[in-house]
């Protein structure tokens, strides 16, 4: 079998414009068990999946006013897993008919020398954190329940400290642009998590 010519790969962008639909909420530590229990009931029947990731956010200051942001993520509990490079566009709140936050997204798996590559390109690390939690799936929906730890010594993921007494809960779907119907499914799913967790579209600009 011959490998497809490189030019055929959709790396140039624009061919598939993927969007991430997102709802966010949080759950206090003591209610985590109940939430996990409910999610196990609601989601696809699969082995409970946990993750422990280290995310680094890099900035590239160009001529434009706003810097270019890339997120590099690596798994800390699964040796040999590829790194994950992610670009997220500006989030759009949209109107009332769309029940989720939408932002452009590009996901790429990379080798582990990603940070060196980014640094060579002129990127500088802005901040980093450790995310530890549970992953659930229901169809194309992905539900992540995780705790965020701040890193006390730069680059040393052994000394960390929990950011808050809550777990962040994210319900996300990555779909081609214009598939706003998925937000209806997301809203329905979010309804089923009430009153344990209220998943909402939260505009991060409001929190800056």
């Amino acid at each position: 079998m011959e490998a497809p010519p490189v030019t055929m790969m959709p790396v140039t962008g624009g061919t598939i414009n993927m969007m991430e639909y997102l709802l966010q909420g949080s759950v206090l530590d003591h209610s985590l068990e109940s939430l996990i229990h409910r999610l196990r009931g609601l989601c696809d029947n699969m082995e409970p999946e946990t993750f422990l990731d280290h995310e680094m956010v890099f900035l590239l200051k160009g001529q434009q006013a706003s810097p270019f942001v890339l997120r590099a993520r690596r798994s800390m509990d699964r040796a040999g897993a590829p790194w994950h490079l992610r670009y997220l566009g500006q989030p759009e709140m949209g109107d009332k008919n769309r029940h989720a936050l939408v932002r452009n997204c590009v996901d790429i798996a990379t080798s582990e020398n990603l940070t060196d590559f980014l640094m060579e390109m002129g990127f500088r690390m802005d901040h980093e954190f450790v995310a530890k939690g549970h992953l659930f799936r229901k169809g194309i929906m992905k539900i992540m329940v995780y705790k965020i730890f701040r890193i006390l010594v730069p680059g040393n993921t052994d000394s960390t400290e929990a950011l808050s007494l809550s777990y962040l809960v994210e319900l996300s779907v990555v779909a081609p642009a214009g598939q706003d119907m998925v937000s209806d499914d997301m809203r329905n799913f979010a309804e089923q998590l009430k009153p344990l967790v209220h998943l909402e579209k939260i505009d991060p600009k409001r929190l800056m």
Binding site: G25, P67, R124, M125, R150, L163, L165, I202, M208
Partner: protein, 287 residues
């Protein structure tokens, strides 16, 4: 049916001859149903009593409740059988003993499981009694006369006070129930904290609250950072000089300054603290 051989069942209101046979059959059937229900009940009662007597040391409350539920269910079925429209009215049946004998009767003994050895004049009045015991009858009569002696007004009053007490009690119980219920729910109510949600979202979106190692000079989407020093550290270090300045005597340690202020003007302490915190939280941004 041993008993029925000995006793003649006399139908009080003699029906027409044509309907007699049908009625007899019906009576027989309903008696059989009744007998089987009573036997079931008796078995459950027996096993329950056995349990109480022999397993009381390892008896659990749920199993007692189970037994109760079984008994009450069987009593209900018995009542249903009695009230069934096909069941003839047993009170219209009269039972008269035909033969009384002081001799021991093995058949009867077997049928009653050893409880009634003879069918004599001694036991028959007890077993065929249709009215309460004479003592009970006496007591009932006493009560009736007592009730009759009380005037209608007094009786009404007593009824009212009883009703009032009952309703008060009911209210109290239901209030208690409601409170315990809501009390049980309250700790579960708070399962998330909107402030935490915002903090976490801000953290993943642009690293707010996370230690950032932004090189100096660059201004990210967040606050201006410092080389090597996290914002948290900056906040902590910013706290120190401000509080020192807030304390009246600069050379003294913090603690004694606070104590002095407390001793001098206790009323003004809280406001002093407030300004300290305020200025401390604002300070890091100026550095």
């Amino acid at each position: 049916m041993q008993v029925r051989i000995r006793l003649a069942l006399v139908t009080a209101n003699q029906p027409l001859v044509t309907g007699q046979k049908r009625e007899e059959k019906q009576l027989e059937a309903s008696l059989d149903a009744l007998l089987s229900q009573v036997a079931d009940l008796k078995n459950s009662l027996g096993s329950f009593i056995y349990k109480l007597e022999n397993e009381y040391d390892r008896l659990t409350w749920p199993s007692v409740l189970d037994s109760f539920a079984l008994l009450s269910g069987q009593l209900n079925t018995l009542n249903k059988v009695l009230k069934h429209e096909k069941t003839p009215l047993f009170r219209n049946q009269v039972i008269i003993p035909l033969v009384l004998s002081p001799d021991r009767d093995e058949d009867l003994m077997r049928q009653t499981e050893g409880r009634v050895p003879v069918f004599s004049h001694e036991v028959v009045p007890d077993h065929l009694r249709t009215k309460p015991d004479p003592e009970v009858e006496e007591q009932e009569k006493q009560l009736t006369t007592d009730a009759a002696r009380i005037g209608a007004d007094a009786a009404q009053k007593q009824i009212q006070s009883l009703n009032k007490m009952c309703s008060n009690l009911l209210e109290k119980i239901s209030k208690e129930e409601r409170e315990s219920e809501s009390g049980g729910l309250r700790p579960n109510k708070q399962t998330f904290n909107p402030a935490d949600t915002n903090a976490l979202v801000a953290a993943v979106a642009f690293g707010k609250g996370l230690s950032n190692w932004r090189p100096s000079g660059s201004s990210g989407p967040g606050q201006p950072g410092q080389p090597g020093a996290g914002t948290i550290l900056a906040g902590a270090s910013g706290l120190q000089p401000v509080q020192m300045a807030g304390a009246p005597s600069q050379q003294q340690p913090m603690l004694s300054g606070v104590q002095m202020a407390q001793a001098g003007q206790p009323g003004k302490m809280p406001s002093g603290i407030k300004t300290n915190i305020k200025s401390a939280s604002m300070h890091p941004y100026q550095r």
